[in-house]
Symmetry: C2
Subunit: 350 residues, 2 copies
C-alpha cells in the first residue's frame, strides 16, 4: 500500500480572480474601494525590527481586549484568527463533530460546503425561496449545527435580528453560527444576543468594512465557554497565527471609529446610487445590504455581460451555478469606478 492512496484529495476552492494589472476596475471580490485608516499604517510602521525576532502574543490580548471593549463583551468572549475563513474553519472543526448534518442555504458562501467536505462533516443544503430568502422553517428539528451569512452572499439580502432570534429559539440544542462578514454595510449585528443565547457564535471580518483584506484578520464573539473551546483547538493546531503587524493593524483599525464610519457610509451611499442606476439599465435584484449588488438583466444573459465587462478591464463576479447562472455579483467601488462601470454598461447594452 503506497502513501498516495491515503492522501486527502480535495477539489480546491477557486477564489475570485486577483488580476495583478492595477488598471483593472476590480469589482469581483467584495474588497472595500477605500484604503484602511491611516492609523493602521502608522501602527504597522510602529512595529520595531527587534520585536520581530520574538513570537507574537499567542493570546492576542490587546486586539481581543480592544474588540471586546468595542462590542461590550468580555475579553474571553472574543476569538481572533487569520481572516473569517480561519475563524469559521476553526469553528467547524470545534463544534461540528456529530453524525447529524449541519444545515446551510443552497445559495450561500461556497466555503461552508468546502469545509464540510474536507472535515468529513455531513451537511444538508436548504434551498432558498424563489426570491432568494432563507426559509426559517427549514432550520428546525435534529441537526448538527446551523450556519449562514447575514446579509447572505452572494444575494446581499439581510434578515432582521428577530429572524435570527427565531432560529436560535427553535435550536437551543444546536450551535448556530451567524457569519456577519457584511453586517456593517447596513445591518444590525446579533452580537448583543451572545449573552442570552449560549448556542450562538457570531463571526465578523476586517476584510470588508475595515478595508484590511490584505492583513487577514477575522474574529468570533460568543460565550466564554464556546470561545474557550475554539482557543483550545486553535492552540492545538498553531499557537501563533496572528503576526505582530496584523495584531497592531487590527487594534489601530478598531480605535479609529470615525474613519470607519466615514468610509462605510460612503460605500452605502454609492450602493444606493448603484441600485437606481442599474435599474435604469434594465437590471433588477434583491435590495442589497452588503457592499455588493446581486443583479440580473431583463434582456442580456449575465455571462455575456460578464465577458463584455472583462474585455473592457472591469471585473465582476459570475457564478456558473444552478439558479444563479443569470446573475452578476458586483462589488460597490468608488463613485469613479462605478461611473466607469455605467459607461461600459451603456456601450454593452446599447
Amino acid at each position: 500500500m503506497n502513501f498516495r492512496e491515503y492522501i486527502r484529495k480535495v477539489e480546491p476552492y477557486v477564489p475570485g480572480e486577483q488580476p495583478q494589472n492595477s488598471r483593472v476596475v476590480k469589482l469581483n471580490t467584495n474588497e472595500n474601494p477605500y484604503p484602511p485608516s491611516p492609523e493602521v499604517l502608522k501602527a504597522i510602521e510602529g512595529v520595531s525590527l527587534v520585536s520581530l525576532k520574538l513570537y507574537p502574543d499567542p493570546d492576542c490580548t490587546l486586539l481581543r481586549h480592544t474588540l471586546a471593549a468595542h462590542f461590550g463583551v468580555g475579553d474571553d468572549q472574543v476569538f481572533v484568527g487569520v481572516g473569517t475563513d480561519d475563524v469559521l474553519a476553526t469553528a467547524f472543526m470545534t463544534f461540528f463533530n456529530s453524525d447529524r448534518p449541519i444545515l446551510f442555504p443552497d445559495i450561500s458562501y461556497a466555503f461552508y460546503e468546502v469545509w464540510a467536505n474536507m472535515l468529513g462533516i455531513p451537511f444538508e443544503k436548504k434551498p432558498l425561496t424563489d426570491d432568494f430568502r432563507i426559509n426559517a422553517d427549514d432550520y428546525t428539528g435534529e441537526n448538527g449545527g446551523i450556519v449562514f451569512p447575514n446579509p447572505n452572499a452572494p444575494t446581499s439580502i439581510l434578515e432582521p435580528v428577530s429572524f435570527i432570534e427565531g432560529i436560535l429559539d427553535r435550536n437551543r440544542d444546536s450551535l448556530v453560527i451567524i457569519d456577519e462578514a457584511y453586517i456593517d454595510f447596513g445591518g444590525e449585528s446579533v452580537i448583543p444576543l451572545v449573552n442570552r443565547y449560549d448556542n450562538l457564535l457570531v463571526t465578523q471580518t476586517f476584510s470588508k468594512s475595515r478595508s484590511l483584506a490584505g492583513m487577514r484578520i477575522g474574529f468570533a464573539v460568543g460565550s466564554p465557554e464556546l470561545i474557550g473551546y475554539m482557543m483550545s483547538v486553535r492552540n492545538s493546531y498553531n499557537s501563533y497565527t496572528m503576526n505582530r503587524t496584523a495584531l497592531a493593524a487590527g487594534v489601530a483599525s478598531v480605535r479609529d471609529q470615525e474613519y470607519f464610519e466615514k468610509t462605510r457610509n460612503a460605500v452605502i451611499r454609492t450602493r444606493q446610487q448603484a441600485v437606481l442606476r442599474l435599474k435604469e439599465f434594465g437590471f433588477s435584484g434583491p435590495e442589497p445590504a452588503g457592499n455588493f449588488l446581486f443583479v440580473t438583466h431583463e434582456k442580456m444573459p449575465a455571462r455575456e455581460i460578464f465577458t463584455a465587462l472583462k474585455e473592457r478591464g472591469i471585473y465582476v463576479r459570475y457564478f456558473n451555478k444552478p439558479r444563479i447562472g443569470n446573475y452578476l455579483r458586483i462589488t460597490v467601488g468608488t463613485d469613479e469606478e462605478m461611473e466607469t462601470l455605467y459607461e461600459a454598461l451603456g456601450e454593452i447594452l446599447a
Copy 2:
C-alpha cells in the same frame, strides 16, 4: 442531544512562557537573539496603505519563487504557511489519513502528538536510545508515515544526510517528513533529496535562523505532486493565510543572504562557547546542532536550577516529563545574555 456533547475537546498545547517584561533574559523559546535583517523592516514599511484593502496573492508567488531559486527547486515545489506549525499541520492533514500509525520519537517536538490527537491520526512513539539518538531500525515496516525533526528537539542532536537517506530507502511507500526547523545552525539539509525521493517532504521556518518568529512564516519543499496536494487542502481551509507584510518580509529576508550568514554564524560561535562554559559548571549533554543546548547537571536537579534562574529573571525551558525531567533546554542568546546566565549559574551552583 445537546451540541456540547459533540464539541471537539482537546488539551491545549502550552507554549513556552512569553513574559511581557523586556528586562527578562529570554532563553526559553528558541528565538534568535539577533533582530532580522534591516531589509525586512524596509520591506514591511514598503507595503502601501492602499494595497492593504486588497486580498494578498493567494499563491504567494513571489515568496515561493524566491525560496525556490534559493534552494534550486521549482516554484511548484514550495509551500508556504503561517509558521512551520501551519505547514506541518497542513501536511499531517493532507498525508496522514490511513489507519496505520504514524511514527515519531518519544522525545521530540510536542506538537506531533497534539496534531495526531486532534486529527484522529493513530501514532506510535518510538523511544530514543539511552543517549537520546533516533534508532533507524524503529522506522521500518508498515506505517502511516514518519516525522521527526533534524536536529531533534529538545535534544539538539543532528543526524547526517546518510541517516535520513537510509530511512527514506526503507520506507519508499511511506511519506517521510523531516522537520528542519534548526538545520541552519550547523546541519546539512536534505532539501537536495526531494527530487530523488518522491516520499520526502522537508519543512523549515523563518522563526529561528531568520529571526522572524514575530512574522509567522514557514515552508515545505517536496515534489510538485506533494506540494500540489498540500495547496489544495490549504485552499480548502483558508485561501489567504499569508498577509501582505509577511509575504514582503519573507522575500526580503531570503534576499539578504549576507546578513543571514553573519547572525547564524554568531549564534553558532556563542553556542560553541556555551558548551565549554557550561561544562566548567558541571553540565553535560549531547553535542548541540540547533540554537539551543540540552543539558543536565552533575549535582543539582534541573528543576531547581530552572526555578533559581527564573527568580533571577532568566527564563530557560524545563520539561516535567519522563526521561528528560532532569534536563534543561537553554536557547543560545547574545554573548551578553549568556554572560548574565553564567554569572547567575555561578551564584546558584556555588
